[in-house]
Structures are given as structure tokens and as C-alpha cells.
Amino acid sequence: MDLTLSTEMQAFRDEVCAFLAAELPPELAEKGRRHQSLDKRDYEFWHAKLNDRGWLAPNWPKRFGGAEWDAVQRTIFEDECAMAHAPRVVPFGLSMLGPVLHKFGSEAQQNHWLPRILDGSDWWCQGYSEPGAGSDLAALKTAAARDGEHYVVNGQKTWTTLGQHANMIFCLVRTDPAAKKQEGISFLLIDMDTPGVEVRPITLIDGGAEVNEVWFTDVRVPVENLVGQENAGWTYAKYLLTHERTNIAGVGFSRAGLAAVKRIATRARQRGRPLIENPHFAARVAQVEMDLMAMATTNLRIVSRAAAGQAPGVESSLLKIKGTQIRQEITDLARRAAGPHALPFASEAVEGSNEPLPDPLEAGAVAASYFNNRKLSIFGGSNEIQREIYAKHLMKGAS
């Protein structure tokens, strides 16, 4: 065993750090550090920077314009970006639709859609979840009926992250209402400018509007926008979901968050002394720091197996559970550290608002961030679903 990075990987990390130092504007990083929401143009700016460098699609094959990094490189890159508070790469086109098109898309679809993802022509969002389905994804009801060279789509999707910025949405739709649950589902690409598509923002607990409902009323979608076979969409959906799980452990976010907690707790005073010297607060920090050390190592273990060609299996469920627990604990600590200074709320999380709140600790919107991060254990396969997946695996073969 050898836990140190190879010379090549060390060099790669240096390269990433140098890039971030040169290209990430401090104002943009500061927005991230303070848990402020980003504008559309912030994302677009950062995507373009990464695309210029050839780093926008780390997981894509080179022939499609990707960097074709292995799992170790991707982890290094994602962690460094997170620690630098770079904007997140919007994953819907790059990490979700991209791999599906690589594997199941027609050549025409690949040639048309993939370059538009990279150059920013299209902003994709995801049409998976429905209000009635929740964790039971396959219970979806949005229907697409064939009518000549079109599908006519009716129904509703929800939890559509950043859908307000998107011009395209990939959807799971039911094309055979008579078929059993997982059968009869198809994978459709829908232009959101088509008549009958309506996006309604959902305000979340932190006051932010990062998710949306998307309604479809008699929306006509050309049949060439069907990916793969009709009624075979569940296969592509599952393939997408396994690819969604990159950076599931969120090590970089946790490291950045923990650094923020220490910074706040060093500024915060209790009877004239820094809070970080309080033994009870220090114990909370120490515990999560130790847990993060171990979890990051677990992540490397799984990542290095993936880099060696072994597909990540059910253990990604364990990473999701522990990774989100740690991230949530850290946002909880930030809130606690701020003490009474966590009370001012809301406006920083709301886009477009620029009324600065009093923030003597330079803590940022810690309470909003705490509430927002409750989502980590709910969205993207709730932690209960992860436990059920792993439990089934454990009990496989039980009589």
C-alpha cells in the first residue's frame, strides 16, 4: 500500500491549482465561500474557462472532446475546485446526458448535441422526478403519445435544478401506458421553447430558487429526439444514475466547509477568547475532522479501484451516506459557530438581491446553507434509498 500520490498525479494537482489561481476570479470564489447563489453568467463564464482548457468534460472520451481522465484525476480536480470555491460545473449535460448519448445516442444525436453542451449553446436540465413518485422513480406518469413524426407530451416534472436557466430538458416519459412499471418508459430530449412547456420556480427552505417544476401541456417533440429505443428508457435512466454518482463523497466540499468552520470559530469570541479554544466546540470540530480524514481515505480506496478498471458498486451507497452526513454536520457546525450572528437570513441566498447582511464574523449565509444542505440526504437518491440498496445487497441469497 502507498497512500501518497504518484509523481504524475502530484504534477496534475499542481497544474489544477495553478489553473485555479490564475483563472478563478476572487469575487466568484468569495460568492461561493459566503454561500451566495450564482448568476447564470457566473456558471457560463466558468464553463467557458474550463472548456478553453479542455477540462469541462473530465469524464468524456477524447473523441467527443472530453479530457478522459481516470477516477483519481477526476477526484483531484473536483476536490481542488471545491476547496477553491469554484462554481460547480452544472452536471446535467456534462455528467448525465453526455454519457447516455455516448453510449445510446445515434451518431446524428452525438454530432448535434455533444458540441453544443461543451460550447454552452445548450443548457440542459433533468426531467426525472415527478410529484407523485418521489423515491419511487419508476412510478412516473408524464405521458408521450406518438402522433405521426412527433410525440405529444403531457405531465409534470419537479425538482428540476436550475431549470430556470435551461433551454433543453431530457425527460423520462411513459410511452406505453399498458406496460408494467419499469417498462414502457422512454428517454426524450425536449426543447423548452416548444409551446406548452412551462417552468415554475419552487422556493426552497433557504429562500433560494434553485429547483423548479416543469409542466408539459400538449408539447410536440420530434421523434428524432427519442434516445435509443422506444420503451427502453429505464435502461438508459439507470445507466445515467450510476454516472450521476461522481464525486458522491463530496470530500472537497467538506474540506472547504471545515476550513470555513475553523475560520468562523477563530473569529467568534466567547468571553474574549476564540470559540475554537472552547473544549466542547473543539470536540465537535475534531470529531468531524477525524471522520472526514477516514471518509476521504475510503473515497480514495474506491476511486483507485475504479481507476484500475473495477466498476464502483454498491459501496458508492456507503460513500453517499457518510459523505452527506459529514457535509451536513459541517454546515451545522458553521451555524453553531456563528452563534447569534447566524440569525440574519435569507436575502443573500436569493438571487438578484444584493442587500448585504451584517456579518461581523464573515461567516456568510450559514443558516441558509445549513437548511439548504438538508437536501443532500434527500435528493439524488435519498439516504434511505441508499440504505435499502445496500441492505438488499447484504441480504442477497438470504433464505
Binding site: S129, A133, G134, S135, D136, A139, T158, W159, I202, T203, L204, I205, G207, A268, R269, Q270, R271, G272, L275, N278, H280, F281, Q328, D332, R335, R336, G339, P340, H341, A342, L343, P344, F345, A346, S347, E355, L357, P358, P360, A367, A368, Y370, F371, R374, K375, S377, I378, F379, S382, N383, E384, R387, E388
Partner: protein, 346 residues
Amino acid sequence: MNFDLTEERQMLQDTLRRFLAEAQGDVWSGLAELGVIAALFSEEQGGFGGAGFDLALVFEELGRADLSLPLIDAVLVPGRLLAGLGEDVSGLMDGTERLALAHTEANGRYDLEWVETRADGDRLSGEKSAVIAASTADRLIVSARHSGAPDDTAGIGLWLVDPDAPGLTRRSYALAQGGEAADISLSDTPGTRLTEEGFDALADTMAAGLLAQTAETLGAMETALTMTQDYLGTRKQFGRPIGSFQALSHRMVDLMVAQEQARSAVILAAAHLDHPAEERDRVLSAAKNILGRTGQLVAEETIQLHGGIGMTDEYALSRFAKRIVMADHRFGDTDHHMERFIALGL
């Protein structure tokens, strides 16, 4: 030993619960008319209650309701402080006046004695932060130090200050739990002295505020749990009510255990409000600590048990969850009160 409400309190509870269930428009004067505000003060203060169990009852009901009313900060705390110093508070009781206490400071964290604002005679200078209900206050009570180090309990006086007094600026902002607060800056601002040594009165007042806060949080927990129980019973997934999955229902039971712990903690706190300070503070610290721990558990778990819908601003649960969690940032948090509990003797 008797855990039943007295007949009068039972009546007040019924009336208040009915009123809040249908409350619209000017809730504030409605509460005053019902005598709810008077129930927070003793007979010699002009009210008809004021005991721990009166406060617990009123604020538990307010906590159960889906509204955000700064009764603790605009009435209870400044009112009991004033009344305790022998001042007239009839304007508060009939609902025509509102006050606010400007005490907390940026470096004070949760320590009551930490005051850096200076008093030069009756002229005050300094910074007060997170003064809840400041923008609606007709008058402010301001603490300031005329002598001693920032952490001395002696040397802290109290002044009545006009919000429009020279040198005073208010900067308001919204709060996570609803309502608003302001940071207040004082520069040679004149005030009317209430007392030269106000620490003990502040401590008594904050004890009442703490009790009210725990009761309000308990009420919010009750509603959050009722909503969750209903949701588990009606929401279906994989063809069954989700409450039939042990992965959810057994956690719901642990939340009911937490709720009973919280309820008992509030009862204990209410029973000890008029006990000698050390005894009272030990029990109050236990209550605040328990509400901090059980409240966070209930807030986080009720959101989780709901799934995505629990994250939305539209659905009332998110408001209850925010009130529950942010209550930990008021009157001393979980760790602050654990430390005080230890300091008062294990």
C-alpha cells in the same frame, strides 16, 4: 403532584388554540383582547398570571401555530424587565405599545454579562446586534456599562431610549425564523435611566424569555410531528403508505420519544421559574439544552421523512423547522447551557 392544568389555564388554552386556528388580520390586538398578554404578567404587575405555567401555556400554543409573532421580544422580555423595575406596563398589556430590549452585542455570544456599550452619565455609545422586534418598538430598553470589565456582572445599567433619539441608527434585516431584527448603533445617545445595576433584573427576565422560547419550540415540534405523522399515513410509495416502512416509522417513534423529553423539560422549567436563581437556572439550562438537542433532531428528521416536499418554502413544515432550529441561537444555545449546567454543579 398534579400534571393537569388548572381550570382557568385550561380555558385560556382552549380559547387561544381556537383563536390561533382561525387567526387573521390583526392578531396582536386579538391576543390582547383575549387577555393573552395579561396572562404573562402577575397580578401586582397588572396582569392575571405571570407564573411559569402561564408562560409555557401561551408560548406552546403560539409555537403550534403557523405564524411568527415577536411576543417574546416585543412584550414578554422588555415588559417583565420594566414591570420588575416597578414601571407601568399597561400599554403593553392592552396591545397598544411594543418595546424591545437592546442588549446582545457582537462579541458577547450568549453571555448575559458581556456589555461593551458605554454609559457616560445618561449618554450611551456602542453597538447592539440582533435586536429582535426593534423596528416595531415604540421605546427601547438599552443596557450599557458605566464601570467594570466587559464580563463583570456589576456595572451594567439600563436605560429607556427613544428610537428616534439623536445618535441612534437602526439597520433592519429578516430572520430565518420569521420576523425581523436590527443592529443598533448608539453614539452619545440620551436615555432615561431605569436602574444603575440591572444584571439581576436582566437575568430574571432572560429566564422568563428562555422558558417562553422552549415552550414555543415545543409547540412547533408538536406541529411538525403531527404533520409528519399525517404525511407518513397518507403519502404512498411503492404501493404502500410510507409510514408502513420501518425505516421511517421507527424513526418517527424516536421523534415521539424526543417530544416527550422536550415536553417534560418545559414542564420542569415552568415549575422552577420562581425558584431561587441557581436552582432555577440549572433546570432552565437543562431545558434549553434538551430542546436544542431534541429540536434539531425533530427538525432534521421531519424534513427527511417528508423528502423533497419538506424542503419547500411553500409547505409549512419548513417554517416550523426553521423556527425550531433557529431557537437554538436565542437565549443561549445547546452548548452554552450545557456549560452553565456543569458550572452550576454536577
